[in-house]
Symmetry: C3
Subunit: 324 residues, 3 copies
């Protein structure tokens, strides 16, 4: 019933984190451990070795205060493929005293004996608050516009598979930069690996916080197009915006959408990725999305592999810490 | 933990389908393979052998764009009893470009490594579209008013258990014929097995498509009553109809409902079945529903057995095709 | 993958119930069997032995007609930790003929082969109705204002862990007594173990039914405070009340809330418990909820242990009855 995975090797001595809260905190070495172990899981996945017993007896809870069927399903499958049980806990945010009730909810789940919690919440910092208050592993699955570390990792793993080392490479992150935890996790991770990051979008979708992160700015996709090795085409999150940040979807698509014509003007091996679900015809035309320079579905498989690596590493560190 | 099932025998050489999209496409031989294997699972179920390892390592996703707790639970239990993991993916249909987004959703689930998808959608043909676009087994759990093959199979298996061979038997399918994928799957399957099918309902609930299927028509239950060996009393699907197709529920029940008095006027061994959930007092009176000539709960157990057989057969064919 | 649990011993000869419908029916001996076995599961849980194979092959369904994520998750985890599969079935109550449709739904789930059903419904007596109509084990997870036996058991187990024997002890149950199945299950269980029970709340929240149960009444928390060994601070269930039973939440809290000042006026080892989720600042101040005299999180872990014991005992009795 379970497969073996000798390539995974010994548990890495230098991995000491029982939580994964963001990519900002990680050292370059830790980032490489994560990517290397995720690659092992991905290779095994492609070879049909998909079910392991590393986390048998472990109970993981997905504690989502925002809806996300895809991310939740990916984490749930990752946990189950490691032999863990996975329980979905759908919480409402209607309580007046949100901070308190989130901690109470997490403490309850801890008291039921769960070993890890995968948390999504609209408020930045909630995973950090939980990590301070419970003894389970906390894995951030998106906290407001702050971080979404497993998305950052799967994006970077996908780039590394196609480009090799990211040292000296230039990555453009295009779209709704202001509201994007994905852009932030990409930037933190990519910079640690020596890549140059350009965020690119309409001036209405740019936040001053980026200036402090050492990333380049642009308001013209055409201007950066010849320089980039990768374009990460963020999803326009219509549901997040209260007033329209651009005149029309059509205008956005004309200025910031990726199409065959633009693809021809980029580097010949330009890689195009995008966190799903994509709005076809908005950020990407179908020709680009389904073409050979796109790695959209590879990202999904890498997401599973990254989440397996994260669960395996944080579980191992938690056991060491709690047995010490 | 797992039971053995030697009666299942070798994988049938003549079963080559990795998808189950409808009963229309099946040969008589394929239909008999399905029914025979389902009967093996049903017999084992009755004897308490309910958990197997045939699909261990297999991940099945129920991808339902219409709600159906019962059918979904039945498929989920069937997958789990074969040793598979089963994940529920509830999709919304709000996207403008439905066709595209359904394929994208399915490709995402495929990239997460699922081996089968059980699909329900209000648009006929969606399962066929997915079968052309992914490499998982696609199992149609209802596509609009088109087909619902596992319901057809469980109805037919139930008839076969009570009547023996269906050759020369007459089956009445009564009710909302116009909107019924159940009626269509029944008709395709029953005809292949040599049964005569009569669809019967108010003239407002009859669609011209039936003329081409070689089934008989009637607008009077009382007229067909003496001739039928089985009555399949379809559920009035109040939720599907935009204008009322009959003056009142009471009138419908008087003309097309099955009650003790009508039961006495039918053949002495007339079998009454109905896809749940039934509207007691509308299609069937409680005396009929709970009486010895009803097989309503047997249908539910047969549904589980049929879905186990379908998952086992399509999985075996998929492995052969993909290893060839 | 599975742990051993030799401390559990042989299946108790005197446990003959395949259902758990309420604490009112239980003998003192049966109550003690439940508490003793739950304690075995709790001790094992604390030692990290959390996964067993006692119920492998067993399918449990949580059939909830009222929402309750916490209770449902607790039962689901309990079933899975015993090696069972657990399926959630969310039913609507919109049907006109509720009683009938609940029985039909349960019979359908039984026909799919489930061995136990964990039932929550707003109508008192629904679990009893199902127990008469299906051959699965029925476990009452709350029926209207009638009983919630596993909550009563986990409260009592928590008291017993802190106080030892409950003989001669005095337990105050404070708050919304009129609508509380928790209060009723507490009272039935505590009385059988020799404890004295005082229900305490505003006069608008008191129902005449209590007079017949042999419990003492009070409308003043301050009056009973010096006498009680335990206070069970019920949650004000704002969602259940159609007209406000007290002038303001603030007034309720002043008269019936537990705070540090009141804690000082109680016995020095007064134990405070509360069924979650608590309204911080209403029934309990945070100082009390998080203080050493509170056992709120212990209750949650005990809930899991109690549900494991209930599933194990009812399953064993069911097998004996059905094999007899």
């Amino acid at each position: 019933m379970f497969n073996e995975l000798p390539e995974l090797g010994e548990f890495p001595e230098n991995w000491k984190r029982m939580h994964l809260l963001g990519l900002e905190d990680l050292t370059r070495e830790e980032l490489l451990i994560l990517l290397d172990k995720a690659q092992v899981f991905r290779t095994a996945f492609d070879e049909g070795r998909r079910k392991f017993s590393f986390l048998s007896g472990h109970t993981s809870v997905t504690l989502f205060f925002e809806n996300s069927t895809r991310t939740r399903t990916s984490f749930s499958l990752a946990a189950q493929r490691l032999g863990a049980s996975c329980v979905a806990f759908t919480a409402s945010t209607s309580s007046l005293s949100k901070g308190e009730s989130v901690v109470d909810t997490a403490k309850n789940l801890e008291a039921m004996g769960c070993e890890s919690m995968v948390v999504r919440h609209s408020t930045p910092g909630i995973p950090h608050l939980l990590a301070e208050n419970v003894n389970c592993s906390i894995i951030n699955a998106g906290d407001g516009a702050h971080e979404h570390p497993t998305q950052g990792l799967l994006d970077i793993l996908t780039m590394r598979q196609r480009l090799g080392s990211l040292e000296g490479k230039t990555v453009g992150v295009v779209g709704d930069i202001a509201h994007s935890r994905v852009a932030r996790s990409n930037a933190w991770g990519l910079k640690k690996l020596g890549a140059h990051v350009i965020v690119c979008g309409p001036s209405t979708l740019v936040s001053p916080v980026w200036k402090e992160m050492g990333v380049e700015f642009s308001h013209s996709l055409d201007a950066i197009l010849p320089r980039v090795d990768v374009l990460n085409m963020l999803r326009i999150q219509f549901e997040r915006q209260y007033t329209s940040p651009f005149p029309s979807t059509r205008e956005y698509s004309l200025l910031f959408g990726m199409n065959s014509e633009r693809l021809r003007r980029g580097k010949s091996d330009l890689l195009v990725i995008a966190p799903g679900p994509i709005n076809r015809g908005v950020e990407l035309t179908p020709e680009v999305a389904d073409g050979p320079q796109s790695a959209i579905l590879d990202q999904v498989s890498n997401g599973l592999a990254v989440r397996m690596a994260v669960l395996w590493l944080t579980d191992g560190a938690r056991k060491r810490i709690q047995n010490a």
